[in-house]
Structures are given as C-alpha cells and as structure tokens.
C-alpha cells in the first residue's frame, strides 16, 4: 500500500482535477444553493459525507459486482448514503434542511459522485478510495464555500449570516453586516450571479495555472552551466 500516491490524490481533488472548477461536475447544486455561506457549507458537508461513504462502499464491493450491473449498483449505494444524510440533516439541522430542500435528495444525481465511483473507487483499494472521496469532497466543498462567501458578500452584504442553522445557537452571532442596512445587489443572489462568479473563479484558476506553468518553463529553459559547445541535434534536456 505504500506506493499509493496520497499527495497526488489530494492535489487532484483539491486543485488539478477539482470537481467544480475543472471537471465542471455537480454544477446544478453548486449554482443553485451557493447564495450564502451557510447554505454552501451545508450542502458541501452533505456532499462530502455521501462522497466518502459511496467511495468506501464501492471500493469494498468492487470484486463482487460485475461490469454489467455496476452503474445501477453504484447509484443504489449513492442513493442510500444520500438518504442517510438527508435523514441526519432532517434530525439535526431541520431549518437548513428546509432551506436546501430538493437539493439534498438531488445529491444522488451529482455527477461528481458517480464519476468518482466509476473512475476511481471501483478500481482502487479501500484507503485510497476513501481518501479520494475525502479530497474530492473537500475540493467541491471549498469551491462551494468560496462561491457562497463571494455571493453573500456582494449580494446581500453579509458574511456568515444565519450560521446557527448549521452549528446551533452558539453560532447565532457569527454573522456580520459589511455594508450596513438596506444593501442588496440582487443579481448576485439570483442564478446569473452564480454563473458569473463560477466563471470568474474558473478564470482565476486558469490564470494561476498558466502563471505557474510559465514559471516552471522559465526554470527549465534557463541556460545550463557547463559546456558551451554548439549542439545541432535538438535541445539539451
């Protein structure tokens, strides 16, 4: 097991192959409920739980389930975990459950989860599969959180409002107003705002990536010290 590249898995989940920014999977809940931090965090955690659970289960049964019936089996597993999560949220965070509404059961249809089950968990042993679920879920949740924060700040001028829905009464005064009463930039709360901010985040990621690449290329092409003989048969590696 020592040859499993956990660093690679976490880099992929959080950045290089981020479900929301690169694979562009699960955009429906991402765009629909990221109007505030508390909604985003609620859905992010729910998705994370389902993703880890389904990855573990899929990995465990990977030798028993044949190719022909694997998709229905995966969907059944994901649906089971989603139902569990839904019931848990209903029990402990009822108000948030009501706000998120249809988007909790819709976690079943989140392609990121089925995609991970299919592409990774069904071919890997338990630990890497669970770790991949965790990292992909964190990557998805992080984007959701950033999106929720940006939209909440610009859209309604608050941050961390209503966090008590998720963390109980202890969090009832976590929220703060940034621009005073009466502020509101409705378009950011509405779906167009979600598309806009997601687009800008993807652009930002691409900018960071291309800067990084340019820096790497610069290091690679820096003149080598040593022999200055003219080579005519290709570049020095």
């Amino acid at each position: 097991m020592s040859d499993v590249a956990y660093g690679e898995i976490s880099r992929n989940g959080l950045w290089n192959n981020n479900p929301a920014l690169v694979q562009l999977l699960g955009l429906c809940p991402l765009l629909a409920v990221s109007g505030s931090v508390v909604n985003a965090l609620g859905l992010g955690l729910a998705t994370l739980a389902v993703l880890v659970g389904s990855n573990i289960a899929v990995s465990l049964i990977r030798h028993q389930v044949g190719d022909a019936i694997r998709t229905p089996a995966f969907v059944m597993i994901i649906a089971t975990f989603t139902t569990c999560t839904e019931m848990l949220m209903k029990a402990y965070t009822y108000e948030l459950y009501q706000i998120l509404g249809i988007f909790i059961p819709l976690i079943v249809t989140n392609c990121a989860i089925l995609g991970r089950a299919e592409a990774f968990a069904s071919k890997q042993p338990l630990l890497p599969a669970a770790f991949d679920g965790l990292m992909m879920g964190l990557g998805f949740g992080a984007v959701l959180l950033v999106l929720g924060a940006i939209r909440e700040i610009i859209g309604s001028g608050t941050l961390f409002a209503n966090m008590d829905l998720l963390f109980g009464p202890v969090a009832s005064n976590w929220g703060f107003e940034l621009f005073g009463d009466g502020y509101g930039f409705l378009v950011m709360i509405l779906p167009p705002g979600a598309f806009l901010v997601t687009g800008l985040l993807i652009a930002l990621k691409n900018i960071i990536d291309s800067r990084q690449q340019a820096r790497l290329a610069k290091i690679k092409t820096a003149p080598l010290k040593g022999s200055k003989r003219v080579r005519t048969t290709g570049a020095i590696q």
Partner: protein, 356 residues
C-alpha cells in the same frame, strides 16, 4: 488610363467606427433635449456619470489586456454604451446605480467577451437588466413629466441644485415620482380603454400615448430617421421591430375593451419603443448579420416586447427582448445567409453546401 486593380470588397468607405459612433451620439440629441425638458438635468447627470465611468473602466481594462488604449478610446464605442445606458436609466437615479450599471456593461458584458466587436450581448442592455433585477425600486422611480397636472400643482422638473442633491446625496425623490404611462396602463383593471384614458392624468393630458412620453419617442424617432438618412444602418431591423410590435398590438386591441392591450399608437409611442428600435436593435455587433436576418431579428424583438408588456411582470420589456434575441442572432444567421454571387438559391448553410 491606368486603373488600380481592385479586389473585393468593392465598396470603399471612408467611414470609420469613430464616425459611426459620433453619428449615433449626435442622433441622441433630440431625445436628450426632450428628456431634459421633461425631467430636468437628471438624464444629463446620468450620461455624465456613465461616460466618466465607462472611459475609466475601458481604459483600465484595455491596460490590463495590453491593448492600445488611445486607439480604442477614440472609437467612442464605450461612450456610446454609456450614453445609451444613461438615456435608459430613470433621471435622477442615484450615482452608484449608474456607476454599477456602466461598469458591469463595460467590464463584464463587453471586455470579458473579447471587447469591441466580440460581445454577443448588447452591453448597455446588460447593464440595464442587471440594475433592473438588482434594484427594482430605484429603477422604477420615474419622475412625473414637467407640466403634468395631478391632484396638486402641475409637476415641475426638479431644479439644478435639487437634482444634484438627489443624485449625489441620496435624498428621497418620492415627491417627484409618478407612474409612467406603461405602468399606469398595466394596472388598468376593468375599465374600457376610453374611460381609463379619461380618468388617468397621464393619458387625459397627452395627445396620443401618454403625456410627455409620446414626445420622448417622437424625438428618438427623429434621431433614428437622421441615422437612416446618413445610412448608418439599414431600415430592416428597426422597421422589423416596429412592424412586429404593431402587428401584435393590432391583433390584441379589440377596439378598446377592458381586456385589450393598448392600441398600436400607444405601443409605438410608449416606453422605450423608438429608443430601442433605432438605437439598441440596430447595434451591428449583437444583431443578425444579413438584411433578411436583421428583419427577422427586429420582428421577433417587437413581438417579445409586446408579449412581456402585456403578460409579463415588468411594464416595459425592451432590454429583455433584445437580450433574448441576442442569444438567437447566431441561429438566425445560420438560416439566413445572403445569396452569394453566381449561386441561385440561398437556403441554409447546410443546403448550400450539399449543392456545392
């Protein structure tokens, strides 16, 4: 006699983008004068704020994108966007409203899509729609046209100092606002159109389509005719839009019963009809390309404007109609390629490539 050998395009025109944009700016003057006469200097302030914002945003983004700043600023396209948005916003809109709308129009609707000539949506209308759905309260605060008699003394356009205070200090403008004719008409419940006209001051004191607003529309029509005469654009899109709107109005105006939707004249001279037909629909970048395509594009905008005015939530609909048809413009282009020289038919692109 030696002649220069010439290859296509065979029409040479000394016209530059700059010249076209200047013509558009000149053509807005009649409308601007009427708006100022009716509502005070509010519209001028809008245009001033929008222009400054547009130029600053344009220059900043061009610098970021490493494009020649002077070259693109001198084509006046940012200025035209700003002026059109300034004309469309309610006079005496608070300054931050104008700044937000203009910045959104220039930065997001224009430059994020590639800048001048690449934007699929009309930037001014994007700015307008963003403001309309974000700040419905401020965006519906239209002033009563100067001279309108309501219960009290005749409405007067707010004077210079008051206007400045309202725009920059955020003083309340409740005392000046009144429903626009389109607004008023939308809330007609159960009266015959003739009765309703008699009872509503906006219509009782107007000639054809509501006090003040009919003149705004006529002024923009004049500006539009000037642009047509200078051949800045062809007649297809504006005439198409006015025709689409008129036909819809004709079919839904049953002589003025309580459920009818306003006469042709009412629709033609209300709200943003003429402004839209000659200054928004004619945008060469975001509309369809061929003459036939532009006509269809215009007709559909007219139809959608009528649909939203009559059955939608908003009193006027030009911005939404234009944006929806901006979406459809490539689709229209796909089915309306002009006939190429030497070919008899111009079907769709698919059909023609089969013939070849």
């Amino acid at each position: 006699m030696a002649r220069p050998r010439s290859s296509s395009p065979h029409t040479h025109s000394p016209r530059s983008t700059q010249w076209l944009m200047l013509q558009v700016l000149v053509a807005t003057v009649p409308g601007l004068i009427v708006l100022t006469r009716l509502f005070g200097i509010g519209t001028l302030l809008n245009i001033l704020i929008a222009s400054v914002t547009a130029i600053v945003c344009e220059a900043a983004i061009l610098k970021l994108r490493k494009r020649p700043i002077g070259f693109y600023l001198r084509d006046y396209s940012a200025l035209v966007t700003a002026v059109l948005l300034g004309l469309a916003l309610p006079p005496l809109a608070p300054w931050w409203l104008t700044v937000t709308g203009t910045a959104f129009a220039i930065i997001i609707a224009k430059h994020l899509y590639g800048g001048m000539g690449y934007n699929p949506f009309n930037p001014a209308m994007i700015g307008y729609v963003v403001l309309l759905i974000s700040f419905p309260l401020q965006m519906s605060a239209w002033l009563a046209p100067a001279g309108l008699l309501t219960d009290g003394p005749p409405a007067a356009a707010p004077d210079f100092m008051t206007s400045l205070q309202i725009v920059f200090m955020g003083n309340s403008i409740d005392g000046f606002t009144a429903a626009t004719p389109l607004d008023a008409f939308k809330h007609n419940s159960g009266l015959l159109v003739a009765q309703f006209y008699e009872q509503t001051p906006q219509f009782a004191q107007g000639h054809w389509a509501g006090f003040g607003w009919e003149w705004v529309n006529i002024a923009f029509l004049l500006g539009g005719i000037y642009l047509l005469a200078r051949k800045v654009f062809t007649w297809h899109a504006p005439v198409g839009m006015l025709a689409g709107l008129s036909v819809m109005a004709l079919f839904n105006y049953d002589g003025g019963s309580s459920t009818s939707h306003g006469s042709i004249l009412f629709h033609l001279l209300s709200g943003a009809t003429m402004f839209g037909a000659f200054f928004i629909v004619t945008d060469p970048v975001t509309s369809a390309t061929s003459h036939r395509g532009r006509f269809i594009y215009g007709v559909m905008i007219g139809v959608i404007v009528f649909l939203i005015r009559s059955w939608g939530n908003y009193p006027d609909a030009l911005a939404f109609a234009v944006l929806l048809m901006n979406f459809a413009a490539p689709f229209i282009d796909y089915y309306t390629p002009p006939r190429t020289y030497g070919h008899s038919k111009s079907g769709t692109i698919i059909h023609r490539s089969k013939e070849d």
